[in-house]
Symmetry: C2
Subunit: 127 residues, 2 copies
DNA sequence: CTTGGCGTGCTACATTTGTAGCATACTAGT
DNA sequence: ACTAGTATGCTACAAATGTAGCACGCCAAG
């Protein structure tokens, strides 16, 4: 996974797709679309557009594979969520990040390694 | 504080100003602007525009007072943050809201009453 | 009085985001 | 070989957001 100095923020829709890809690892646009909760009601082309924007933003890699494009994360989940967690801690919870990290360790589906990575990322960045 | 069925989401900049007003209670545009961290580097008119958008969205009330407009929250902090907390719990932390609420009770600057209110709001809404 | 500030109500404009559709190319079944 | 069904690369477009500027009115200092 690469490290970028200035990774653009993820919009709401973009985060939704990243979550699917962080979970699945590598999928075609059609597969990603299939995993979207029906509740979204997106047109297939909408899914594709957001996917492409994620590629443009550097979050995903698009690899042609036997005629179809497969998308896969270039940015790890901790890296992708770091900014969001930081923002939440500073501007919503308004508390030290420690407690939040502990919560990730205890309640979330993040592996210990991911939590560790997230913790490091939050530590080095002060914004 | 009113209860709205469909309160528009707060954008990043809007949340920043709401935080100032939830803290101070009632301020003029100039005062709000003054409390903005220099780091923002906003023009005064930008602050005013965002303030007006908050009025339009129903988050703030604007009351003319001896020639100046004073802005004050119409929506309580728990109400304003509920949607954000919910989103964070479901889509970032991916865990039950309980732990997060406990964190607010323990680490944040929210009063017990506010935490209680937040908890209620998170409970009734499932999205 | 005259003028410099500050406040107010509008208007402006580039990006980002949400949400799609179209035309063309390729693939497997008939 | 033809055709129906996909996949792909573009293009589109409105609403939301970030970020300001302008013109006009009012008040206090000179």
């Amino acid at each position: 996974m690469q490290r970028r100095k200035e990774l653009p923020d993820l919009s709401r829709a973009e985060l939704d797709l990243m979550r699917i890809l962080w979970r699945a690892g590598r999928l075609s646009a059609r597969e990603v679309h299939g995993q979207l909760d029906e509740a979204y009601g997106w047109a297939y082309s909408t899914t594709r557009t957001v996917l492409e924007r994620l590629v443009a933003k550097g979050y995903l890699a698009r690899k042609p594979f036997h005629g179809v494009n497969l998308y896969e994360p270039l940015i790890s989940r901790p890296q992708g969520l770091a900014r969001i967690v930081l923002d939440f801690a500073d501007r919503v919870l308004e508390a030290d990040r420690g407690g939040l990290v502990a919560l990730f360790a205890r309640d979330s589906s993040m592996s210990p390694a991911e939590v560790k990575e997230l913790e490091e990322l939050l530590k080095e960045r002060k914004p």
